[in-house]
């Protein structure tokens, strides 16, 4: 678990990238998360657009997008 700042998903990833250089390239493709990734904010999956708003003090999880049957 690490801490990062930002009011949008994009800002959050920039903050993470400053702490762990290269992480943004692994997470982002254009203006979205890379295909096949999902993001959860306080337990709830949100749209994977970089301008998606992030609530203060939120717990964020990045995860592979899981398919079901």
């Amino acid at each position: 678990m690490v801490s990062a700042s930002g009011s949008t998903l994009g800002e959050l990833i920039e903050s993470l990238d400053s702490q762990y250089p290269g992480l943004k390239a692994r997470l982002v493709e254009g203006e979205r998360l890379r295909s096949g990734l999902a993001v959860f904010v306080n337990g709830i999956q949100i749209p994977s657009r970089l301008n998606a708003r992030i609530a203060a003090d939120a717990d964020i999880y990045f995860s592979p997008a899981i398919a079901g049957g």
Binding site: G36, A38, I44, S63, P64, A65, I66, A67, G68, G69
Partner: protein, 758 residues
């Protein structure tokens, strides 16, 4: 177990609206659709598992009497779009396009290379024989471990491995490598008193739906395309067809027929775009129906796997560390359910030190597809057999071990936020309290027969998705309920019951109908155990919205403040005025007004479904045949809306799991040719093979749903293979780590054990 709240409709067992039509043959399935001037399409498929296509000559087929159209990959546009298909899984539509019609190379035996439409299916089949395909055969790779080797034949020269967002330097058959890590597994294994590590192999398995794929397409001169098909998701078919054909989605309408099973295999399109292309070329409606061999060889089975699981525990029975290495066969294009395998492999347990490595690997087999809890059955088979061996070494009761280490709210899980309120431990406790578990098993059953008991737990996550419903209040107070969710497991009933409960009327006064994509708002697929949760949630919201609209109309008629109208059950009141729903409907109708309401909801479903199963088996040590003597499935269902259909899901899942455990597998020769593409040779269990499955419903309320519903359809397939393997060990003392545990494999292991003892 029951929740405290009492309901009028929920928890009862009414007759399903579609039942009589289905048992009397009136229901219309995919192959039943017939249109005026309709012709018939057939597909030419590759005899090679891996070959370059040097050329296709269709001229003689085009000239054959009765042929109206021939298509190949050249008739498909180039597409490069990624689309979320099913439960959030991203699918590259270029791969999907190449999968339905090979472009440049064929990648598995049965890969489509051309299609013909003709005046009859027989003429179409004759014409296929006149298509000349010039193949350059290439070496196939059929085993996941061989495909991962650096010198393996490559399926796609432009595919590189993605390791958590980092691309490999060289092309590879490994499409992706996922890693989930928590704590320090090396330290965890040092703290262990016992460590068990085993390797596992499972083979390709098909969903085994009884109804083959079928589609009818009509492409009109104005560009309007209508498709009738058997599918788990009419809206998903509409999106996929629009993307693959680069046709405006507004000009594609999909009419879902009844469906004879899907289990994840009827989400991706195979026939629909091809039938559409043939219809456009021929100027007539085209019907395409697969035969069983095509279904088995050329649709999307669940992958074979190679897995390695290592678990350590201390002397008190606490798990100290766990590591899983999971390599899944994606088939011809990336996209095995490896993410789900990683998520579920250790899901029933509270873990502090864990690492999971997952690999998505291409082989020359059909592109794998979802199958009921995709990826979980394979992964949890491996983990649950290892857990059983840990218990054996510790001398610990396997259910007590699972209770002691059981996951609960707030615990870590791979690839996602911590668990919310779940019922993993409650399921184990219900299994411990079951009559089955408390009844001793008589182990001796004759000179060559041994009996054993096994248990296993399983997990599958839940998904909410987007659902829409439309309700129309009839003048007699009944409601026409329009849905877009394909009814596979009795969901017309379970959705109508939730609507009736929320609307305050009897279930029989709701008429649910599954309609086409032009008639109701968007619905995600019937998959991911989501419909009774997600579309039920929409039906609940619809009922509440309709009540508000009825109250507002009555307020206008009564000339009172809308806020003053109260609703209790089916009664609407304001001051001294009070009417029931029938009277309200009459009043509104007399004013020349209608209540027609639509809602779309996308509820979050952060919960998951857990199950614990107990099985007794009898093994014939001379033949290796395994008989299932008794089976009990315990599952947290949240709230059983229609208990019979929940029990049916559990029993159906167990039946499929038993087939996977004991008999079902794709058998390929060394050239990649499928040798058992019929239901005579691909052995699915029948009613004669399986006893009555006992069910125990545990109801742990899901706070994300107004009635506490959890998805129930998928998790019951997960525990059976491990539970059966553990029972076989209890019976004859051999650990079966390869699926299926066929008589030949089991005999070989028993003989090897006896030889070693001698």
């Amino acid at each position: 177990m029951t929740t405290e709240k009492q309901y009028r409709v929920i928890g009862t067992r009414p007759v399903r609206p579609d039942g009589v039509d289905k048992v009397t043959g009136r229901a219309v399935y995919g192959a039943d659709v017939t249109l005026p001037r309709m012709i018939h399409g057939k597909i030419l498929r590759s005899p090679h598992a891996h070959a370059r296509i040097r050329g296709i000559d269709t001229r003689e087929a085009e000239r054959y009497p009765g042929v109206l159209a021939v298509v190949t990959a050249e008739d498909l546009p180039d597409v490069d779009v990624v689309l979320a298909v099913g439960e959030g899984g991203d699918v590259n539509m270029r791969d999907a396009s190449h999968n339905i019609m090979a472009s440049g190379k064929v990648l598995y035996q049965g890969h489509a290379v051309a299609a013909v439409a003709a005046v009859s299916p027989h003429v179409a089949l004759e014409a296929l024989k006149r298509i000349k395909v010039d193949y350059e055969p290439l070496p196939p790779v059929l085993d996941v471990r061989k495909a991962m080797a650096a010198d393996a034949p490559l399926l796609h020269e432009d595919l590189f491995t993605d390791t958590m967002g980092q691309r490999s330097e060289h092309p590879s058959n490994i499409a992706s490598h996922l890693i989930a890590e928590e704590g320090d597994i090396e330290q965890g294994f040092r703290e262990a008193s016992v460590v068990v590590e085993r390797e596992f192999v499972t083979h390709t398995v098909h969903q085994g739906y009884i109804e083959p794929h079928a589609a009818v397409a009509e492409w009109r001169d104005d560009g309007q395309l209508t498709i009738w098909c058997s599918t788990q998701g009419a809206f998903s078919v509409r999106e996929q067809v629009a993307q693959i054909l680069k046709h405006p989605i507004s000009q594609v309408k999909v009419v879902p027929t009844e469906i004879g099973g899907g289990f994840g295999g009827k989400i991706s399109v195979y026939l629909e775009p091809v039938a559409a292309l043939l219809s456009r070329k021929a100027g007539r409606p085209v019907k395409m129906v697969m035969d069983r061999a095509e279904v088995l060889a050329a649709t999307g089975p669940t992958p074979g796997t190679y897995m390695k699981v290592k678990v350590g525990a201390d002397a008190q029975g606490n798990i100290t560390a766990a590591h899983a290495y999971l390599a899944f066969e994606a088939g011809a294009y990336p996209g095995s359910p490896i993410g789900a395998g990683c998520t579920t492999v250790f899901a029933p347990y509270r873990l502090k030190n864990v690492r999971i490595d997952g690999f998505d690997v291409l082989v020359n087999k059909p592109k794998s597809n979802a199958y009921r809890a995709p990826g979980a059955t394979q992964a949890e088979f491996a983990a649950e057999v290892v857990m059983d061996e840990i218990c054996e070494k510790l001398g610990m009761d396997p259910l007590e071990f699972r209770r002691k280490n059981g996951a609960k709210e707030g615990d870590w899980r791979p690839f996602g936020p911590p668990y919310t309120r779940i019922g993993a431990i409650e399921c184990v406790e219900a299994a411990q309290a079951s009559e089955h578990w408390k009844t001793p098993l008589v182990k001796e059953a004759g000179s060559s027969r041994r009996r054993g008991r096994g248990v296993a737990s399983g997990y599958w996550m839940n998904w909410g998705g987007t659902s829409s419903c439309t309700g129309r209040l009839n003048p007699d107070g009944t409601v026409a309920l329009l849905e877009g969710s394909t009814d596979i497991g009795g969901t017309r009933a379970s959705i109508a019951m939730q609507f009736a409960e929320a609307f305050g009327i009897a279930y029989e006064r709701v008429r649910p109908q599954v309609v086409d994509t032009d008639t109701v708002g968007y619905n995600d697929v019937t998959g991911g155990s989501r419909v009774t949760f997600g579309t039920g949630y929409a039906a609940y919201a619809l009922a509440k919205q309709m009540q508000r609209e009825i109250a507002a109309k009555l307020a206008a008629i009564w000339e009172v403040d809308p806020e003053s109208v109260t609703v209790e059950g089916d009664r609407y009141s304001a001051g001294d005025k009070s009417v029931n729903l029938v009277e309200a409907a009459n009043l509104i109708s007399e004013q020349g007004q209608q209540v027609v309401t639509s809602v779309t909801t996308t509820p979050h479903n952060r919960s998951g479904a857990f199950a614990t199963h107990i099985v007794d088996v009898e093994v014939d040590v001379e033949t290796g045949k395994v008989e299932i003597l008794r089976y009990t499935a315990v599952q947290d269902v949240g709230k059983a809306i229609h208990p019979s259909y929940v029990e049916g899901q559990m029993q159906g899942g167990v039946a499929q799991g038993i087939g996977w455990a004991l008999n079902e597998e794709y058998i390929y020769d060394e050239n990649g040719s499928l040798r058992n593409a019929s239901l005579l040779d691909y052995r699915m269990p029948t009613a004669l093979d399986i006893p009555m499955i006992e069910t125990i419903l545990v109801e742990v309320f899901n706070p994300d749903h107004p009635y506490g519903v959890r998805g129930v359809g998928e998790v019951p397939i997960v525990p059976p293979p491990a539970a059966i393997s553990n029972a076989i060990y209890d019976a004859v003392g051999v650990r079966m780590t390869t699926l299926p545990i066929s008589p030949a494999r089991l005999c070989a292991e028993i003989m090897a054990k006896n030889s070693a003892r001698a």
